[in-house]
């Protein structure tokens, strides 16, 4: 599909965001993934989210590892920084980049293979460190790039395209995140941008690692009957009880009467995440209840989606490690690298 070029057509009716850019300015190259791939919709949702947030493209850093999902940073925000790392190592590069320059908005794109198989250790530690980033797992349950073997997120009983069922238990990234102490956990579906875009915007505002598990059907190897990650299965089994709005900091908030008891979470930049509806007794701050809810839904064969857990009070990677307040590239060189005399002095202090 490399022959396709998406032309820039200067339609006068195309709206602009607050910094004068149209959504076309947040696109990247045209996708070379299979036509109909869920990942392309996630790409489009990311494009929408950053455009709506009016994030200047040069303040965004896109990171990825290896896999179909990890190709996708090429397909959005062509003006952003980017790093395509080794398989499973996206989280480590993100951690290092974060330490060096805390002023960028980091978005890591990974898949179920990259994050739940080869890279699961790095994911776990990035969660522990609460690296300030958006961590998107484009989860399709198969290794698409190697022709559709089961991945670590495949459900028990789910069938391959040729019919074999899966017997091994799946790793659920949201439950993993809950147990690792993650501070922002969401699940969504590539076919539901109305839900995914606000979650991505809230994730951008979150102080810490925002893990979003996006079920993103593999149209070539996992969109058949018997799959539990197909378009049809998701449409039939997705539960959208938890509904949130993202209210950016610049907009005045109008509250209607019946919204008074809605739970609101103020993010660190002043924007607000409002839970429009949650199941009764649900508390997005309560790690244990959230886990119970997810497990209970799962036992019924349903997939709970939405912004499931938020903890905005936790310390992020910078607060935990007492890093400088500014990006290292703005720290004067003399201070950043004080010279061998200072090093010798410091070494002496350890004697």
């Amino acid at each position: 599909m490399t022959s396709i070029v998406k032309p820039i057509i200067p339609l006068a009716s195309l709206p602009m965001n607050e910094i004068g850019l149209t959504i076309r300015d947040y696109e990247g190259a045209v996708s070379t993934l299979c036509a109909g791939c869920g990942h392309d919709s996630v790409t489009a949702a990311i494009t929408h989210a950053f455009w709506e947030l009016s994030t200047p493209p040069h303040t965004i850093a896109k990171l990825s590892g290896i896999g179909c999902s990890s190709k996708t940073p090429t397909y959005f925000v062509r003006g952003a920084h980017g790093f395509n790392s080794a398989h499973g190592r996206m989280a480590t590069i993100a951690t290092g980049a974060n330490a060096a320059n805390r002023e960028l908005t980091y978005i890591g794109i990974s898949g179920d293979g990259d994050s739940l198989s080869i890279g699961i250790g790095h994911l776990a530690h990035a969660i522990r460190r609460n690296v300030n980033m958006i961590y998107v797992i484009e989860n399709n349950g198969v290794y698409g790039l190697t022709k559709g073997q089961f991945s670590a997120s495949a459900d028990i009983g789910s069938r391959l395209k040729k019919g074999e069922p899966n017997a091994m238990a799946p790793i659920d990234p949201v439950l993993l995140g809950l147990s690792m102490g993650a501070t922002f956990l969401a699940r969504s579906f590539s076919g539901d941008k109305a839900q995914l875009v606000p979650i991505l915007k809230a994730a951008a505002a979150h102080n810490g690692l925002a893990l979003i598990d996006v079920i993103s059907p593999c149209v070539t190897f996992n969109d058949h009957e018997g799959s539990t990650k197909s378009y049809r299965f998701m449409r039939e089994h997705e539960v959208k009880e938890i509904q949130t709005d993202f209210i950016p900091i610049r907009k005045e908030i109008h509250k209607s009467l019946n919204e008074n008891d809605a739970t609101e979470i103020t993010m660190h930049d002043g924007s607000v995440v409002r839970f429009r509806s949650v199941p009764s007794g649900y508390d997005p701050y309560d790690r244990q209840k959230v886990e119970e809810y997810i497990r209970e839904r799962r036992s019924r064969g349903e997939i709970a989606t939405g912004l499931l857990y938020v903890d905005e009070s936790a310390l992020d990677v910078h607060e935990l490690n007492n890093t400088p307040d500014y990006a290292l590239n703005t720290v004067p060189y003399q201070k950043l690298c004080p010279g061998s005399a200072e090093l010798a002095k410091m070494m002496m202090s350890f004697r």
């Binding site: 396709i4 032309p7 869920g38 076919g191």
Partner: protein
């Protein structure tokens, strides 16, 4: 909304903005593609099918298609449709073997055409292949009507007009020159099976102001009569200082003709501000390029005659309110001049139609003519062109001619004229393989090509020197690629859709939306790209299989690039070439040659 019925020929017809806007519904994208392929004969024939005079119209058409062109919405300038039409006409080869065959054996029906202008010639063109005997009465000694008498040669060379009128006359029309009709009654007595009146709107509107009929009268001319005298060589000079009253296209022809007949200081005097001018913008530009001065906000008051000679004209200098409804007089000025040409419009006149024949006359003493059948209240007498509903332009006359020919054929066959043959359509996939379509779907960002004009220093050497030189091969090649192929339709099959959003994500103009159904106005609020033109339709699919939502496409925004169809994993989207099938009189008698689908010339002939 109910699912769109895209099997109604008019649904996709409306999407092809240029074709929809054209009175004759010329298949514009179809012929532009043929030009792109270098198939000039095919392009010409496809054009000729609907508009009969591609060479003439490629120079003189009022181009209702161009303001409608989709390309305008993309980069501000329409495709130069009219100029491309001329490219096909200029570069075509011999097309005589592709004209319809005229049966030796006539069908014993005789039709009289009054006038040999565009509408009457179209009637003859449509009826001759059916075996009709057509007798055409023309007041002058040459065919063409207003195309010859009112359009100066520097815009339309006689050679082009002669060729295209002769093609029709050569079908065996019994043309009688120098035969003005002075009595309809006398003609009715000749017992024709049908009579077609295509006499145009031959009378110039007068301007009764003080001094109009004084001694200076010989230097006050009425626009269309003066142009006619110039066209037939009766007038070949004019004074140095000329005033043209009026700013329609006739005024533009008058001022530019004056420039060539000795006029040096030529002023076009307009009552109202420029945005209210009737002349086409390009004609105004061309006139100004030739040094004609256009003066706004001046209302003529009187002709100034001194010593029996016209020396000037007095005007009120006006100031208009917003919307140019009311004016106040600021001053009175006298503009000196040698000649005045009045070009403030023309009107119909039927002194030769006796009022006791049973033909009803209505408002402004115009015969009552049916808008669809073009029949007057006197059965068997039909009207078309400017004679039917007042002055319009050539392309309208051609459209009238086609419809009148259908009516005449029905009338002569004893069928009711009110029953009109239905529009048809043909639609078929253009898919050739992966990322391959039988049309150029890649968007070409070229700007509109500029027409080259003959140098100003040479331009006034003679009246016959054509000003526009036509597109060069390179210009034509660039311009054809600007066409967005609006006739290659994005068609959708709802049962195949898996709602993966691939089409929505790839669309470069965000014209697609999958959403809950609603009524038109409400749906327009929820589209991906803002709806800015409620006149163009929304395509709404049937409910989609997985969620029951609908696929909505804003036909106004789509640029027909085909990326939705390229990215669709289930081929729910396809790019299908749409062809509107317009019924013509000739269809009922002989097999029409399908120009557009013909692969080669030999195949067409066989």
């Amino acid at each position: 909304m109910e699912p769109t019925n895209d099997r109604d020929p008019n649904y996709y017809h409306k999407v092809v903005d240029c074709q929809w806007a054209c009175p004759a519904h010329t298949d514009v994208p179809g012929y532009i593609r043929l030009i792109a392929q270098g198939r000039f004969d095919d392009a010409y024939m496809l054009n000729r099918e609907s508009n009969v005079f591609p060479g003439v119209l490629g120079r003189t058409c009022d181009r209702p298609c161009e303001p409608a062109c989709r390309r305008t919405r993309v980069d501000g300038s329409p495709v130069a449709i009219c100029r491309l039409k001329r490219v096909a006409a200029d570069l075509k080869g011999d097309i005589s073997d592709r004209l319809p065959e005229i049966p030796e054996k006539k069908n014993s029906k005789r039709v009289a055409c009054i006038g040999a202008g565009p509408s009457a010639l179209t009637v003859a063109n449509d009826l001759m292949p059916l075996g009709y005997e057509v007798v055409m009465f023309e007041q002058f000694d040459k065919p063409g009507g207003l195309m010859r008498s009112n359009i100066p040669e520097f815009r339309l060379p006689a050679k082009v007009l002669d060729e295209e009128t002769q093609v029709i006359l050569d079908m065996g029309v019994d043309i009688r020159y120098n035969s003005p009709i002075t009595s309809l009654k006398a003609l009715l007595d000749e017992r024709f099976d049908a009579i077609f009146v295509g006499v145009g709107a031959p009378r110039a509107k007068g301007l009764e102001l003080p001094g109009r009929h004084d001694e200076g009268e010989t230097n006050i001319h009425s626009g269309i009569d003066w142009l006619e005298s110039v066209a037939f060589g009766h007038v070949d000079t004019i004074g140095e200082r000329v005033l043209i009253i009026g700013v329609g296209n006739t005024a533009m022809d008058c001022c530019r003709s004056s420039r060539r007949l000795g006029g040096k200081a030529i002023k076009v005097m307009a009552r109202r501000p420029r945005e209210y001018f009737k002349a086409s913008p390009w004609e105004l530009e061309d006139a100004e390029e030739e040094g004609v001065e256009i003066i706004v906000n001046h209302a003529p008051k009187r002709f100034v005659v001194e010593n029996g000679k016209l020396v000037g004209m007095e005007f009120d200098a006006l100031e208009w309110d917003e919307g140019a409804v009311h004016s106040t007089v600021l001053d009175t000025v006298i503009v000196p001049c040698d000649d005045v040409i009045l070009a403030i419009g023309q009107e119909n006149a039927f002194p030769w139609i006796e009022r006791d024949l049973g033909m009803e006359f209505g408002e402004w003493d115009m015969p009552v003519v049916d808008q669809v059948t073009f029949q007057s209240t006197l059965p068997g007498v039909f009207f078309g062109g400017d004679a039917a509903f007042g002055p319009k332009n050539i392309i309208w006359a051609v459209a009238h001619g086609h419809q009148a020919a259908l009516s005449i054929h029905a009338h002569c066959s004893g069928e009711p004229v009110e029953v009109r043959p239905a529009l048809g359509m043909e639609i078929s996939s253009t898919k050739m393989g992966m990322n391959e379509w039988s049309y150029h779907n890649d968007y070409n960002p070229s700007p509109r090509q500029k027409m080259t004009h003959i140098e100003l220093s040479k331009r006034f050497e003679s009246l016959e020197l054509e000003v526009e030189l036509g597109f060069s091969a390179e210009q034509a090649a660039r311009e054809v690629q600007r066409c967005l192929n609006c006739d290659v339709q994005t068609t959708f099959k709802a049962p195949l859709c898996i709602e993966c959003d691939a089409c929505i994500d790839i669309c470069p103009v965000q014209c697609l939306t999958i959403t809950e159904n609603g009524d038109d106005a409400e749906l327009r609020e929820r589209l991906s790209a803002p709806s800015v033109n409620p006149k163009q339709s929304l395509y709404v699919s049937a409910g989609l299989p997985q969620t029951g939502r609908v696929m909505v496409k804003d036909e106004n925004v789509c640029v027909h690039c085909g990326l939705c169809a390229e990215r669709c994993p289930t081929a729910a989207w396809d790019m299908e070439e749409f062809e509107l099938q317009i019924p013509y009189a000739a269809d009922s008698g002989i097999l029409r040659i399908p120009v557009r689908r013909a692969k080669t010339k030999t195949e067409v002939g066989s």
